[in-house]
Amino acid sequence: MFLRTPDSRFAFGLGIGAVCVSSILLLIFLFVTGEALPALKNVGLRGFLFDDAWYPTDESFGLVPMLVSSFVLSVGAILLAGPVGVAAAVYRLYYAPSWIRKPYRWLVLLLAGMPSVVLGLWGLVVLVPLIARIEPPGTSLIAGILVVSLMVAPTVTIMSESALEGVARSSWSGAAALGLSRESTLWNVVLPAARGGIAAGILLAAARAIGETMAVLMVTGNIVQMPDGPFSAVRVLTSNIALEMAYATGDHRAALFVSGLALTILVLLLSLTAARIAGLKNNV
């Protein structure tokens, strides 16, 4: 029998686990699609794409501004958190004085585990009034980008650190033997060697950024409009669901599931592109 050896039993168990997880994902996707279907039927894809605004209780279902806002916000957050997160990892591993290293690590872990509402609250009470001094009311795209980048930077740092630490010792000595300084070893050998892990960290951070809800909800102002600058208020897809789901009924509710579907597709596209970039780079 095929389950005779411990190894085949183990493999079988793992297989069941894998099937369970993927079928749960599939079920969720099917559920969301099913819930979204009435709205897709009644409103039609055209409505979601071309309606001029989002007034679901008034038969207007334009999702595009929120799609764009979600995209811009997470790209902005990644552009900020990516370099900062990698720089923090490089600093801690190779430049920080040894007495800083441990506390610094704790700080990063603490920040990584910080509940997003807490960061959102901080954003609302500290960051937003600061931004309001430049351009009131302060609840804006840039506030969202700052809060979310603060939230995802630790992810980038932690993933980058393990990728950098995974670079073989022999690469360091090989580079030193070629007369490379520490800086150029870092830039030309170690960082390129760790690029796969770093890219994975940034991808993870991007997924988190686009799915982030509570903190964004508190600081971006949530006006449904195309962002026309860092200070304009925006509403992202996740906020839209969180804001309206509790009281939504009928087509409105189904339309929120369409936002969920759009979000899922956006995340999917993002991770596909990121995976492609990472894959391409690894072959250089």
Binding site: S60, P137, E244, A248, H252
Partner: protein, 193 residues
């Protein structure tokens, strides 16, 4: 439990009103505007007036804090001022009352509207907001209770018709005087004597 009456397309359910909750306009504590007329409120929320100076306050940009669509507070507010969802020119949209209060507390130029009970509790606890009266009536739990405050909403217990018989005892209990303390604790006003 919903904070509104049942809508017409929800005729598959039965609702029982348990209590009332007033919706009050809130400002930052530093905002010294004495009172706003109905006209002024409408002008502010529709974006015709954008500076506090124009309604008798100190100069400063007005930040309109609106509720998210579907929220009963929004529906109540719109119905009372005879506005449509598209008429509001909001700067910030918020979800629940807590978020509204925090947003206004963090912005001296903001105006929003939330449940009076929650707002009264928060301002009593030191949050820098104040409630603005409406049509000469102060926005207090007291005035919601005696029915003088005009902008109020019902809190409704909702059941499936099939469960009506089974739940009769519970509904009677929920509407009985025994529940008044619990309702008052939440700063709501019991609907039944």
């Amino acid at each position: 439990m919903i904070s509104r009456s049942l809508s017409e397309d929800e005729n598959d359910l039965i609702g029982f009103e348990l209590a009332r909750d007033g919706v009050g306009l809130i400002l930052h504590l530093q905002n010294e505007v004495p009172a706003l007329s109905r006209r002024q409120i409408v002008d502010i929320f529709t974006g015709k007036v954008t500076d506090w100076e124009d309604v008798g306050g100190r100069p400063g940009r007005i930040t309109v804090v609106n509720k998210a669509e579907g929220r009963s507070t929004l529906e109540l507010f719109l119905a009372y001022f005879d506005l449509g969802v598209r008429d509001i020119a909001a700067h910030v949209v918020i979800g629940d009352n807590q978020q509204g209060i925090k947003t206004v507390a963090a912005n001296p130029g903001a105006i929003g509207y939330v449940s009076i009970g929650t707002a009264e509790f928060e301002s009593g606890a030191g949050t820098p907001i104040r409630l603005l009266g409406l049509e000469g009536v102060e926005a207090t739990v007291e005035n919601v209770k005696d029915g003088t405050y005009p902008l109020a909403r019902p809190l409704t217990l909702v059941i499936r018709p099939a469960e009506k018989v089974r739940l009769r005892g519970f509904i009677e209990f929920a509407r009985s005087p025994e529940m008044h303390d619990t309702i008052l604790e939440q700063f709501f006003v019991p609907s039944h004597p």
